[in-house]
């Protein structure tokens, strides 16, 4: 019993030392508490409008027919597109496109109206700015909605002229209809899709870089005050538990604000049950902490980790399967992605938080996080032991 109590006291001392240490380091505080709170606000401001709407387009109407004028009016009426310029020639429209004043040009050739009158397929040409995926996506959505509507309109008109009743005409024009339901993010908004994974990534990366900086500093200055003298020659498990507890408790409020409060304040998706999320995020934080401590073992100087690893945030985002689907990744990268706690965490968080999944639907990610926690705990203890052994050798 005494021994047990002593161990608890050891853990407490390490815990308290670590917390003190963090609060004396401006750079780490900046990462832990400023970056984690600043980024969500920036994301909320940057992506506030979800959709790319009212994209300016130019039309070149060479047919001057009633049909083309009707389509132009419909294009202007879509939420996605706004007819900003009406040009006489393609050259004029091309110049507008080159100057980025419009992001799409729609051309109605001379025979547009005539072809419809002759019951032939009439063609309109769409030139689309490809500088951003979202321009292309919105322009295509707007234009194809107008197209579908216009086709149906013309067909119904013809049926009416043939003397069919409305119900018969409907049956002829759309023998099989389809209705689309977009789940979990009905408008297809960019914010609802990108912000949840970014929030998880921010937590992962600030924790990783912050811990790296803390360990690098300790190594650089040969600082060891944060470990009581009697524990310096071993007790890796107590040291690890004490430290992990310190980071974990510091990140509880951060995670609470970033993943629970702010999504509700800013209206990011949040249909997951809180209990499920808490259960899921615990192994995520633990796995990240032990992963970071393991990796921190490789860096001898304070700032090496930030300078050389910051670019990896971008790679982690793509590895997580949000931008590019996991099903279409080469197998090598899929396996590689399982090394990092951010991959299962982002996947699981999206599915619980955005899609309302339960732990049973994210069981693979959940087990992977616990598995990572176990493995990285072991590697972190080993690297700590290795380091103290190396240090002793150096000192002796």
């Amino acid at each position: 019993m005494n021994k047990f109590l002593q161990r608890l006291i050891d853990i407490w001392e390490i815990f308290a030392g670590e917390v003190r240490y963090v609060f004396h380091d401006g750079g780490v505080l900046l990462l832990f508490f400023v970056a984690t709170l600043l980024y969500p606000f920036i994301f909320a401001a940057v992506y506030h409008s979800e959709m790319v709407l009212d994209i300016p387009v130019a039309v070149v109407d060479q047919s001057h027919s009633a049909e083309s004028v009707r389509v132009i009016r419909k294009i202007d009426a879509t939420p996605e597109l706004t007819v900003r310029y009406k040009c006489c020639t393609m050259d004029e429209a091309e110049r507008l496109m080159r100057e980025h004043r419009v992001h799409a040009v729609i051309l109605f050739p001379r025979d547009y109206g005539a072809r419809i009158a002759r019951v032939e397929t009439a063609r309109a040409c769409l030139f689309c700015d490809m500088s951003t995926f979202l321009y292309y996506r919105s322009v295509m959505t707007g234009a194809s909605n107008v197209l579908v509507d216009e086709m149906k309109y013309i067909e119904l008109q013809r049926c009416e002229q043939m003397g069919l009743t409305e119900a018969d005409a409907e049956g002829q024009v759309t023998p099989i209809g389809y209705e689309d339901v977009k789940l979990f993010n009905a408008p297809g908004g960019f914010t609802s899709f990108l912000v949840p994974p970014l929030l998880v990534l921010v937590i992962h990366q600030t924790l990783f870089l912050g811990i790296g900086v803390l360990f690098g500093t300790a190594r650089e200055r040969q600082h060891r005050q944060r470990i009581p003298i009697r524990l310096r020659r071993g007790a890796p498990i107590r040291i690890m538990v004490g430290r992990a507890l310190a980071y974990l408790l510091m990140y509880v409020p951060v995670v609470f604000i970033d993943l629970f409060v702010l999504p509700r304040v800013f209206g990011f998706p949040h249909i997951g049950s809180i209990g499920t999320l808490i259960g899921f995020l615990l192994p995520f934080l633990l796995a990240t902490i032990f992963f970071s401590i393991t990796m921190a073992g490789f860096f001898r100087e304070r700032d090496t980790i930030i300078v050389t690893c910051i670019f990896f945030s971008v790679i982690l985002l793509f590895l997580s399967g949000t931008a590019w689907p996991q099903s279409n990744m080469p197998a090598v990268w899929r396996w590689f992605s399982y090394l990092f706690p951010s991959t299962p965490a982002i996947q699981g968080f999206i599915r619980i938080n955005t899609m309302g999944a339960h732990l049973s639907e994210v069981s693979f990610e959940y087990l992977l996080l616990w598995f990572q926690t176990g493995v990285y705990f072991f590697t972190a203890c080993t690297s700590l032991r290795l380091m103290s052994w190396l240090r002793r050798k150096q000192i002796i």
Binding site: G26, T121, A122, R123, L194
Partner: protein, 399 residues
């Protein structure tokens, strides 16, 4: 002055040969990034995305629909479920991105001209696969309707030529400018990879400058440069400017000549953009390092600022869609200027007459670097005067 420049350059090269670790690590990181992005999205557009069918009908028609779906490039049926709940759960497990629900009696209703409806469910929690699989399935839906219509019209004895005109009165001929295959790769790679190079340059510069302060070699550095701060900075950063620019240009050779992304304008102009990006990031780095004397803070601040440049460059989410205040802020990021220059040069083949504002933008960053030099020279004056007040807060920490 010439001598001072050469001496400082020599000093820096000696320094580099003693500790080449950072440059080696960053170069390896960049090589890794290029390999990663080029192999990750080699398909261009995600093909054969997993989808499912919920077939309540089990008729000739529903089977034919499945065959048609299987024949498309975009999607691939991985499962057939009995009910909606199963399919939805599969979506939450991310086994599928979309599913078709075919109602009961669809074939009978079709023959009776009752306009039956197929339901198409797509998950937009993952925007890209969601919208791609949606697009494929919606096309199939339209084609299925058109096939039935054609069959009816044929039976009515319309000539084949007229049938197309009846079924499809209007057609949209889409020309995606400079990305005919609508591949996802050019969107991402052309800006993200130079962006990674930029962030590396920024952080490395901050580190390099503040490291002199931390190791208390500032006085030595300035002495070598004969007290001329701009010369000291230029000589110190020149080798890295050359190296990172070279890497960026090599990267663009890979993107535009090996991966064959569209480049309508001149490669020389684009290379100039890379060099200006590297210089602008270095200038920003000098400014940050001079402004924030504590190395702890300056590197963390640079990291936070640097990572924002991906968002603010506007390559993924258009800047024109951000609030006006942030549209102005976006110009504080060199990557924004690089992106604008890239779009003008590569996608539109525009001349300088179109992209000169980008050059002005980069020039402003170089001025910011000069401001950093002024701050640094003030600091060195303090050191020489023996006051050591402004820089020593960091030096004390090292003790």
């Amino acid at each position: 002055m010439k001598q001072a420049f050469i001496d400082t350059l020599r000093r820096e090269l000696r320094e580099f040969s003693r500790r080449p670790r950072y440059v080696v690590l960053l170069t390896l990181g960049l090589v890794f990034s290029y390999t990663f992005f080029l192999t990750l999205m080699h398909e261009g557009q995600p093909a054969k995305l997993p989808i499912a069918i919920v077939d309540h009908d089990g008729s000739y028609l529903s089977r034919r629909l499945c065959h048609e779906i299987e024949a498309t490039q975009g999607v691939h049926i991985v499962a057939v479920y009995d009910n909606h709940a199963q399919a939805r759960a599969a979506m939450q497990r991310q086994e599928i991105f979309a599913f078709y629900e075919i109602p009961e009696n669809i074939y009978a209703d079709l023959l009776a001209f009752k306009s039956p409806r197929i339901s198409l469910y797509a998950s937009n929690a993952y925007l890209m696969p969601g919208s791609f699989s949606y697009k494929s399935l919606a096309t199939i839906g339209k084609l299925a309707a058109a096939a039935v219509q054609r069959e009816v019209l044929r039976k009515k004895g319309y000539p084949e030529k007229q049938i197309m005109g009846i079924i499809q009165p209007v057609e949209l001929d889409t020309h995606p400018v400079s990305n005919a295959e609508t591949s996802y790769q050019p969107y991402v790679l052309t800006t993200v990879l130079p962006g990674i190079l930029g962030v590396m340059t920024l952080l490395f510069t901050v580190y390099k400058v503040s490291d002199e302060r931390k190791r208390r070699t500032m006085a030595d550095w300035m002495r070598t440069a004969q007290g001329n701060v701009p010369v000291a900075l230029a000589a110190k950063l020149l080798p890295y400017a050359l190296w990172f620019s070279l890497l960026g240009i090599l990267g663009n050779i890979i993107l535009f000549y090996y991966a064959r992304f569209t480049l309508l304008g001149s490669f020389f102009a684009l290379s100039l953009m890379v060099v200006l990006l590297v210089l602008a990031q270095q200038a920003m780095g000098v400014f940050l390092a001079a402004l924030i004397p504590e190395q702890h803070l300056s590197i963390s601040v640079a990291a936070i600022y640097g990572m924002l440049s991906f968002t603010m460059s506007g390559f993924s989410y258009p800047v024109t869609n951000m609030p006006p205040f942030l549209q102005a802020v976006s110009y504080l990021f060199p990557l924004r200027h690089y992106y604008l220059g890239y779009v003008d040069i590569a996608l539109y083949g525009n001349g300088v007459a179109y992209y000169w504002p980008v050059l002005v933008g980069f020039a402003v960053f170089l001025l910011l670097g000069m401001a950093g030099a002024v701050l640094l020279s003030r600091e060195t004056r303090c050191i020489r005067a023996g006051i050591c007040a402004c820089s020593d807060s960091s030096n004390l920490d090292v003790l």
